[in-house]
């Protein structure tokens, strides 16, 4: 039989049915393997017990653990151990968790502020899942005073520094073209540092919590999502052709920085809620200095264009205000997978902005694709500046 003849024979079959055939076969295979008395593909070996403690909440005299079954098999938590003692009042026990199922364990315990606790979940098979509390501190509840405090911190480290940085605009307007190129290159350096910083932090955080949702891969998924989404926004802005080119770039930069500051706020909020962060003046000053440079990045593209004040305020808020949102999420609803995804999202956004800025830093017209000396110098200076100001916050 020849190939054309075979095609002929299938010509009467609807296209959608042809698409369905492999799917149906795959489903049938799954049914054979998983069905009752299947193909004997039972799991080999003992059940895997993989439970992640997603959140530890400390209230006066009470420890609350938010747990999720991260592994392929059901897990039953039989006892809760704190510092080598069973907790008699822990409950509900036994706690059976199916795959990916989440649950909460509450136990009365007179914990002492500032001390470390070894919490262990003893499973029905005798396995121990460790959930250390590094520094015991009361977990803030999402009341007005906490949200207010976190909001203030977000404004300190996000909105105010970015706005101050944008006040370099009058200077930039008078500067020569070479200076503007240098500032733009400096911006790329700043952003590259932020992206690397966020990627490392995201991967670190992703390694701590539930792995079932992707672990460190979430950072990459977030980054790619943001990159593609911002590319779409960029294409849309270009298509409209309204407003000046400079505003378009500034808006993209502000968006990227805003997403980055969301992650920064998240880190601050979660660390504070976990009692691992004292909001000292050094920390706030460090973050503020660090973020002031971000304001410079936003105004660089509009240095040669006529501007009005209100779009600039908008851009400042776009870049700075997400820090407030981040501190709230971090303080109240922190989970490692969410934080990893959001940090990755910021990385992707920044990468997209860098891609936008790079063409302006290349040498002259056509020919060489390399960076101009001014561009290369600016990028390196940006990295150095971020590194130096980062030392103050670290």
């Amino acid at each position: 039989m020849t190939a054309p003849a075979r095609r002929e024979r299938l010509s009467g079959v609807p296209t959608w049915l042809l698409a369905l055939v492999p799917l149906l076969l795959a489903a049938a295979l799954a049914a054979v393997l998983l069905g009752p008395g299947g193909a004997g593909l039972d799991r080999n070996g003992i059940p895997v017990e993989d439970v992640a403690v997603e959140r530890t909440v400390l209230r006066p005299g009470v420890i609350e653990l938010h747990v999720r079954n991260d592994g392929p098999d059901a897990v039953t938590v039989a006892q809760v151990i704190v510092n080598d003692a069973y907790l008699p009042g822990a409950g509900p026990l036994p706690l059976r968790l199916g795959r990916l199922e989440a649950g909460r364990l509450t136990a009365p315990y007179d914990w002492i502020e500032g001390e470390a606790y070894e919490i262990g979940l003893l499973t029905s098979t005798g396995g121990v899942i460790a959930a250390p509390v590094e520094v015991a501190a009361r977990t803030p509840s999402a009341d007005a005073s906490f949200l207010g405090l976190m909001g203030l911190v977000g404004i300190y480290v996000g909105v105010i520094p970015v706005s101050i940085g944008m006040l370099w605009l009058p200077f930039a307007r008078r500067a020569r073209a070479g200076v503007i190129t240098f500032i733009l290159a400096l911006t790329v350096g700043l952003l590259a540092f932020l992206a690397a910083d966020a990627a490392v932090e995201g991967i670190e955080i992703a390694g701590t919590g539930s792995q079932a949702f992707g672990g460190p891969a979430l950072v990459i998924v977030g980054a790619v999502t943001a990159f593609i989404a911002l590319s779409g926004v960029d294409a849309w802005l270009r298509g409209r052709r309204r407003g000046a080119e400079g505003y378009r770039l500034s808006a993209l930069i502000a968006t990227g920085i805003g997403l980055h500051n969301l992650g920064e706020g998240l880190a601050i909020g979660s660390a504070y809620a976990a009692g691992e962060l004292a909001l000292g003046a050094f920390l706030v000053i460090g973050f503020a200095l660090h973020n002031t440079t971000e304001g410079l990045a936003i105004i660089a593209p509009v240095a040669r264009e006529p501007v009005r004040w209100w779009p600039l305020v908008g851009l400042g808020l776009l870049a700075g205000a997400p820090a407030v949102l981040g501190t709230w999420i971090g303080g109240v609803a922190f989970t490692a997978p969410l934080a990893a995804f959001l940090l990755g999202f910021g990385v992707g956004a920044i990468a997209q902005v860098c891609v936008q800025l790079l063409p302006g830093l290349r040498t002259g017209s056509g020919g060489s694709r390399g960076l101009s000396p001014l561009g290369a110098g600016g990028i390196l200076a940006g990295l150095a500046l971020m590194y130096a100001t980062g030392l103050i916050a670290a």
Partner: protein, 341 residues
């Protein structure tokens, strides 16, 4: 019990290094007052919870009850040999068995006769003891007795057929019961720690020829379980089940003589102890003398060490006993005597 713990993160330590006061720090905790740890349950009054675990263990599902083990002395099948000497015979079978060692926590144990600890063998000094050991497990096991006996009866690798009993095989250990006192037996196969830790041990009581004064007699084998195989224990007890005598106290009568046969087989921890509340006891180390060595309320024992404790309770009420190593106590090795008038 052992768990990894890491100290504060970058942000936390940096903030500490900065040494600055928190800007509007959230108020600290206000823990409720707790009763002193040694106050005993009576001091807790109507408290909903006391030092125990959540839930309880079902003895029926386990196939043995710690309360029954407490007073279960097995004198074997008794006969007399040609010389008129008492001969006692037992059959002990090594079996794998999953048991619940703390509420909800199951452990794949190796047992003698389906229970942990194995049967408490009892004879009088001078009796002939004949123990037929059948290995129904899936590893090489033995029975090694503490006592005075020929090398071939020692139950260790290299001692002959009794030192290497393969699955499905059997061996009969035979020797004269001596000296009188409190002894133990355990598996001596390689690797020793695992064969002991998994539950292959039991007590041997050899009575002095004239016996001991009549008493309420209790056997307590101090043991523990390494449920996650990290060479550290997660569950501690006497007679296997954590908190068994705390949930259901041991009932004794005021003034009656109580004799405790206390054997320590604890693996992975260097020393175990026994402390009695509200009372003192006479301590007969290894039970080899009829004169007490000490009048005290706390003794310690290394692995394999054992002793007889004799006590009378002058007061009614509940009196705690536990390892005076708080970790062991709070991980299950704690119980209560309930003294009635």
């Amino acid at each position: 019990m052992r768990m990894g713990i890491t100290r504060a993160t970058l942000l936390g330590s940096a903030a500490a290094a900065a040494g600055l006061a928190a800007a509007g720090r959230i108020a600290g905790p206000a823990p409720a007052a707790s009763p002193p740890p040694d106050a005993g349950p009576a001091a807790h009054g109507g408290a909903a919870h006391h030092a125990a675990a959540a839930g309880s263990v079902d003895p029926a599902a386990n196939g043995f009850d710690p309360h029954a083990i407490l007073e279960d002395f097995d004198g074997g099948v008794v006969s007399r040999d040609a010389a008129g000497r008492t001969v006692r015979e037992w059959t002990i079978v090594a079996q794998n068995r999953e048991i619940e060692v703390a509420p909800g926590v199951r452990y794949a144990a190796w047992t003698y006769n389906g229970r942990v600890p194995g049967p408490t063998l009892r004879a009088t000094a001078g009796d002939r003891m004949r123990i037929r050991f059948v290995n129904g497990g899936d590893h090489v096991h033995t029975m090694h007795f503490h006592g005075i006996h020929p090398a071939a009866m020692d139950g260790i690798p290299g001692s002959g057929p009794g030192g290497l009993v393969h699955p499905g095989e059997a061996f009969t250990y035979e020797f004269t019961a001596e000296p009188f006192g409190l002894h133990l037996y355990h598996c001596h196969s390689f690797p020793l720690a695992i064969h002991i830790a998994k539950g292959l041990y039991g007590a041997v009581v050899i009575d002095p020829p004239g016996g001991r004064p009549a008493a309420r007699e209790l056997v307590m084998v101090q043991n523990a379980f390494d449920t996650n195989f990290d060479a550290a224990n997660e569950v501690y007890a006497v007679n296997t089940v954590a908190f068994a005598y705390f949930e259901r106290p041991i009932r004794v009568r005021r003034g009656e003589l109580v004799r405790i046969y206390l054997v320590n087989v604890l693996e992975y921890d260097p020393v175990n102890s026994f402390h009695l509340h509200g009372n003192f006891f006479h301590h007969f180390p290894t039970g080899t003398s009829l004169t007490p060595a000490e009048y005290t309320d706390t003794i310690s024992q290394v692995q394999g060490q054992r002793g007889i404790l004799e006590v009378r309770f002058p007061h009614t009420g509940r009196f705690m006993f536990h390892a005076h190593k708080s970790e062991f106590a709070e991980l299950g090795w704690v119980g209560l005597f309930e003294v009635t008038g």
